[in-house]
Each structure stands twice: as structure tokens, then as C-alpha cells.
Amino acid sequence: MALPPLDSPQWHSSFRAFFWGVRSVGSTILALVLFATYLGIGALAHDTHFSLAWTLASTVFVWAGPAQIILVSTLGSGATILQSAIAVSVSAIRLFPMVVSVLPMMRTPKTKRRHLILAAHLTAVTLWVECHRFLPQVPRERRIAFIHGLGCGLVFLSVVANTIGYLLAANLSQLFAAAILMLTPLTFLFSTARNCRELADGIALALGLALYPLATLLNSGLDILVSGVVAGTIAYGVHRARAKAIA
């Protein structure tokens, strides 16, 4: 699907810009990955005994797949609220640089901060990637409306996927329910691997996978935090050492 040219009268109304944003959901392959991810999250929430309303509320109000998985799996395995909150907030730090880098693309001299609140909420990895692809084709004064449309479309798609995944996990044979649960680790592993731009990210991913089983032996209740901080710090150390070696 091609967006109208920048000087087209299609862009004269914010409402139309919103609509073009919603339609753009259909032209992104990432929407398919998002659908599979949220299908998996719905199934995971079902099998960890959360209600469907809880699952949908987490998608609408948290709107970050990794944070939702961490929340569901830590709470489901008996972590305290504080432990889950710490793990979620560490995973969510990456949203900070995303918001910082994406909002200037939508800002005009007349934009007030409150106009950007919904856009900031909708910012997650999918929207962040798509902003760089779509926004150059959207007139600056219509970009917020366009992003609201694109973001709301993605949230809606995810809510539908969540519901389908939840109901499938409840009603499918054990084999297919297992297959849907397996979507979560697979989509996250490969989309994270794809996003590894620096050496540190790749090492963190590999070490994080390898160290988790070791961290469970400590039985601290903070296994994921322990393996994450250790693996991430080692990866950062390698990154520093290599930067020094080059310089």
C-alpha cells in the first residue's frame, strides 16, 4: 500500500491521517510478528491462570511484549510484586531511548508536550521501527494523528490476537496448545536477535540464555534478574574491552 503524496489533499484532515495510520498496519510484516507474539502471550496468560480481562488490560496499558511476558512468568512462578516490578522496570528502560528518539520526528514548533502523551504510550519496538519507515512520507503536522492511527491499529490487532490465543489455549488439544505457547520464546528470540546491532547485544542474548539455568541453581527467587545483570554486565565489559583494543 502506498501513502498519498505529501502535498495530497488527503492529508488536510487529521481524521484522514489517523485512518491512513490504521491502514498502514496492513502493510507491515512486523504486524504479523506482533500477531504471533500476542497469540503466544494470550496462551501463556491462560496457562499461568490469569483472566482474559487481566491479559487484555496488560496489553492495552503496558503495551510492551517483553514486559508482559516477564510480568506473567515471574508472577506465575511465585515471585513477589516487588521482584516482578524490578524485573519489568529493567526490561522497560529500553523504552526511554526509543521515546527520546521518536518524538522529535513528530514535533512541530506548536506541539505541546501533552499532545505527545498518547504517542509516547504507543511507542514500543514495532512502532519505533515503523516510524522510521513511514514518517518521512507523512507531512509533519499530520504525523501525530498518523501515529495515533498506526499505534491504535497495532494495539487492536494485538488485543484480537490475545483473545484468540487465550481461547485457543483453553480449548485446543494439548499438542496445539503447546505449539501456541512455543510462539512466545521463538518470536522473542528471533526478533531480539534481529535487533542486535552491537556486539554487546549479541553477547548479552547468548549469555543470558546460557546463564539462566545456572542462576536457577541459586534458587534466590530473583533468578532472571541475577542472570540478566551478570550476563549484561559481562557483555558490556566485552564491548568496553573491544572498544579500547580498537582505540
Binding site: A67, A85, R94, L181, L186, A200, I224
Partner: protein, 114 residues
């Protein structure tokens, strides 16, 4: 309806442990955006730790699987991830190829084992 909403306590936990720790970072980005360099050393470390935590969660689901996934033998779960990863690399990092191969191995293997 009560099964749809579940227990209210869980919804409170969702906000305290899920929504607030997550939204804080977006709102900080909105508030302080512009002053921070995306390539700064602190952010490299933060991103590495965040990636490793996510890796830990992926490992947790595969090693100590929830619900129906626990009915699949451990070796088959690891094999499916490994085969998916091989397909991902061979297809020049196609997420779709990795997920499809991983799922086919999992379902096919389990079906074959009976």
C-alpha cells in the same frame, strides 16, 4: 463475567508491578527527551542488561515451561529452538523462517512420539 475479570487483586498487581514500572520510562523519555545520546555508554549497558533479562525469560519458558508446553519432552523443546535458530541464520535472519521451522519440529516431533 466473573471468570472474564478474574480477581481484582490481580488487576491491582498488574498496575503496581506492570503498568507503573513500564510507563515511568516512557514518561521520562517524554519529559527529558533530547538531552540524552542514544549511543551513550550507560545506555549500552542498560540495553545489554535488558536484552539478557529477556533472554532469561525466553530460557525460563523453554526450560521450565508453563501449562501444555510441559507435556513436550525437554530435548524436543531444545531441539525445536535450535532448529529454528539454524533456519533463522540460514535465511539471513528471517523471523518467519525461524518461527515456522521451530514450530514444525515441535509439532512434528511430538506427533511422531505419539
Amino acid at each position: 463475567m466473573s471468570t472474564f475479570i478474574g480477581d481484582w487483586h490481580a488487576l491491582v498487581v498488574l498496575f503496581v508491578a506492570g503498568v507503573i514500572p513500564n510507563q515511568i520510562w516512557r514518561m521520562l523519555g517524554l519529559w527529558f527527551g533530547g538531552g540524552l545520546d542514544e549511543g551513550s555508554e550507560l545506555l549500552v549497558w542498560v540495553r545489554a542488561v535488558a536484552t539478557a533479562i529477556l533472554a532469561g525469560v525466553i530460557a525460563q519458558i523453554v526450560v521450565q515451561p508453563p501449562g501444555a508446553l510441559a507435556s513436550v519432552p525437554a530435548l524436543l523443546r531444545y531441539g525445536a529452538v535450535a532448529a529454528g535458530f539454524a533456519a533463522f541464520m540460514l535465511s539471513r535472519r528471517s523471523i518467519f523462517a525461524g518461527v515456522a521451522v521451530g514450530e514444525v519440529i515441535l509439532v512434528g516431533g511430538q506427533w511422531w512420539l505419539g
